[in-house]
Amino acid sequence: MNAPAAQAPPILHLSSVVGSPLRDSDGERLGKAEDVIVRLGGAGYPPITGFLVTVAGRTSYVGADRVSDIGPDGVVLRKAKLDLRHFERRAEEVLLKRDVLDRQLINVKGARLVRANEIELALLGGAWRVVGVDTGPRGGLRRLLPKALGAHIATGEFLDWASVEPFVGHVPTVRLRIPHPQLAKLHPAQIADLVEAASRREGEEIIQAVGDDDRELEADVFEELDDHHQREFLEDRPDAQVAEIVSRMAPDDAADVIGELDEDRRETVLALLPVSHRVKVRALLGYDPAEAGGLMSPDFVLLTSATVVGDALDAVRRSDVAAELLTAVFASAPDGSLEGWIPVTALLRADPAQRLEALVKHEIPTLRPDASFEEVARLMADYNLTSVPVLDEDERMVGVITVDDVLEAMLPRGWRRRFGLLGED
């Protein structure tokens, strides 16, 4: 949180520019600067493209190319003559005071929402640019005090513009057209926390921006959202879009999301899913979400115990289960009932020609789909398990519960949100 560079150019506060006089090249006062226009969307610090000014009670526009200097003494024109034009917003242009100041911004570095108490400008590479925002109380205090006093307040908590993403959803012409490239650097869970902390419109903007560049990431963010927000953001999307997002999720998360939809939409969305996905999701929807059946995932690696280790490792390679969740493969007896499991690490250490039956661990606890959540949690804690198989009445394996599902449901109320993860620094 220091100034951008050692020999940083002097910083100019937006509040000292807005409201300052508009002067011609001779220093004659012509009017007042009302707002500063910048263009977002490009790489680097956004350049100032013009000023909104009032001259004799009329609001007009002065392009940045017609301005020779800006500072606390005012906005100084290059020429003696004033050439007033009507202001029309061009794409990607925002008014700093009207659209950015006092509003929320995403601090990408800390993955949290901050409010812009002051906007800092500097002369960089021959053009005036936005270099950062002040999120601390000093920036606010400066604007509260009369100008003569406020000017003495130094910059407070400077936050470099490179680690900031502004919301632009409320700006008429820019709506949704500015990418937020930095959001992709965040973990889906962090993005989900931002969406939950933001207002609805801002949350929608984050999700849209994420979805525009990366559908996969959008689906991951949806997986991490709490039920309430999942529902909120899926509600007014068309069925096809919901199906697209859901089809990118793991079946158990997909079932949770579909369970959140209105009853009359579920079938339509299900029908739009790819067949294999649909079958799994539909099966999961038959279980109570508070029981083992509702927690489990139908994606696991189950092989007959006659399989050789080399083939088993091949099956692991082909499986699309997330790497951190695929910690064991399961072995079944010839009649299809579950025999036991083998940790993936044990497979790696074993001779590829060996059969699984030589390695299988028989002593494993299992669950029925109707086991209550408490039983699931207690069992996994007692046996120190990261995954536990779920069997139907015929001892056939129907799913696996992994520790992430249980941990999420066990977090005390209030912990899920922000605590730790989003704490600054």
Partner: protein
């Protein structure tokens, strides 16, 4: 098969689905929330004192005014709920974003002063209500303060909201007290619909004070922020609006019962001067019986507890929103230090002041009245302007009819409010 069968069978399962009847009742209760809480916090110690003295001084003839005030409050509360749902932001946050930091800091400062004053008066009310049974304030007030603090800071938003809804149950004591007072029901009926205008200045002043105590800034501030924190979705907007309107109506029906109870007893027996809620409770005893006193005391306790809990929250919402700090009921100090510290500070100061013997509650309330009277027009004006702005509300901006009704309400209420301030200042 040598699998260790885990002990998973035969345990009681979680109840899978609620029966439809139970689900319906829960849905109905689920409708109760911030609207009910916000409006009913207005029936606090100061409110009861005003309603009691209105009833004692002018009898049933002030009832028709309560109808007008109810309509105004319902409109304002509806707008606040609407803005909360649509924008997902509190009022202070919207003022900051649309009108700049100076307006928001001005409003925040006024809220801080006014709410602290009201909060003190409510802790005094808690002490007075419990004091009717002889328990000293040095015992009741610290206990109440601790309980309120725990509910706000240690619970979650949901659990706090549930507790606050329970706090509204004691309000039913007032209708019962009113019935025990044997009012002349047909007169009550006619006076509700029959405007009765007196031009005497004390009457006008009382009307203004009634409006001022019923429509208070913190109600809208709390409602809007709580709706946001509750996470009401846009498709639930009609429910939330209904809840806000019903809450306002319920609060004012209760207030009217307070007027009826005192009108039937104190007014008819020539006791015209009542200056506090506890005094009203004691004065009722000879005419409506011991139970009326107890009921008034219970009502006062519930109302004061509710308001003493809502005021710190509303204040803290406003400060956090306008200065951009983390907020949320149930947040721990590490998560939202400013939010929690303001709540803690307000409860501590209020409880401490309320324990000072012979606190000049009346002059305190007069001061509060002035600050609130200045704040209310600002608050209402912003609510009105923001709710009709297409930039803020998009397609959900007020319809011409709602906007017109809001405009009239804001103008009239603000005018009354300014009259109240002027009169109060001149009287000093």
């Amino acid at each position: 098969m040598r699998r260790a069968r885990s002990a998973i069978r035969g345990r009681p399962r979680l109840p899978a689905r609620l029966s439809s009847r139970r689900a319906r009742i829960i849905a109905l209760l689920g409708l109760l929330g911030p609207g009910l809480i916000a409006a009913n916090a207005g029936n606090d110690a100061g409110g009861i004192a005003t309603y009691s003295s209105a009833g004692a001084k002018y009898g049933y003839s002030v009832l028709w005014i309560m109808v007008l005030i109810t309509v105004s409050l319902a409109i304002v509360q509806k707008l606040a709920a609407r803005m909360g749902v649509v924008t997902g932001k509190g009022l202070a946050e919207l003022i900051r974003e649309e009108y700049g930091i100076r307006w928001s800091v001005l409003a925040t400062t006024a809220v801080l002063i006014a709410n602290l004053g009201i909060c003190i008066s409510d802790f005094v009310g808690i002490g007075a209500a419990v004091g009717l049974t002889g328990v000293p304030v040095q015992v009741s007030v610290p206990l109440a303060a601790l309980a309120i603090w725990l509910i706000i800071v240690r619970g979650s938003y949901r659990s706090a909201e549930k507790t606050f809804i329970w706090f509204t149950i004691p309000f039913f004591a007032y209708p019962i007290a009113a019935i025990l007072a044997h009012p002349h029901w047909s007169t009550v009926g006619t006076q509700i619909v029959q405007p009765h205008i007196m031009s005497s200045s004390p009457y006008v002043l009382l009307v203004v004070a009634l409006a001022g105590t019923t429509i208070t800034p913190y109600m809208q501030l709390y409602l809007q922020s709580a709706v946001v924190e509750r996470g009401v979705r846009e498709d639930e907007l009609p429910h939330e609006e209904r809840e806000a309107v019903l809450g306002a109506v319920f609060a004012n029906v209760i207030a009217s019962f307070i007027i009826i109870a005192t009108a039937a007893t104190l007014y008819t027996h020539g006791i015209h001067s009542i200056s506090s809620a506890a005094e009203a409770a004691r004065a009722l005893k000879p005419f409506a019986g011991r139970y009326a006193e107890v009921l008034f005391g219970v009502g006062l306790l519930g109302a004061s507890l509710l308001a003493a809990a809502i005021l710190p929250i509303a204040t803290s919402y406003v400060v956090s929103e306008s200065l951009g700090y983390e907020k949320g009921v149930g947040r721990r100090r590490q998560e939202a230090p400013v939010f929690v510290n303001i709540i803690t500070g307000m409860i501590l100061i209020s409880a401490f002041v309320a324990m000072i013997p012979n606190v000049p509650v009346i002059s305190l309330l007069v001061g509060v009245q002035v600050v609130n009277g200045l704040l209310l027009p600002i608050n209402l004006f912003f609510i009105w302007r923001l709710s009709r702005s297409a930039d803020v509300m998009g397609e959900r901006r007020s319809s011409p009819f709602l906007d017109g009704a809001a405009g009239i309400t804001v103008l009239v209420t603000s005018a009354l409010s300014i009259v109240l301030v002027l009169v109060t200042l001149l009287a000093l």
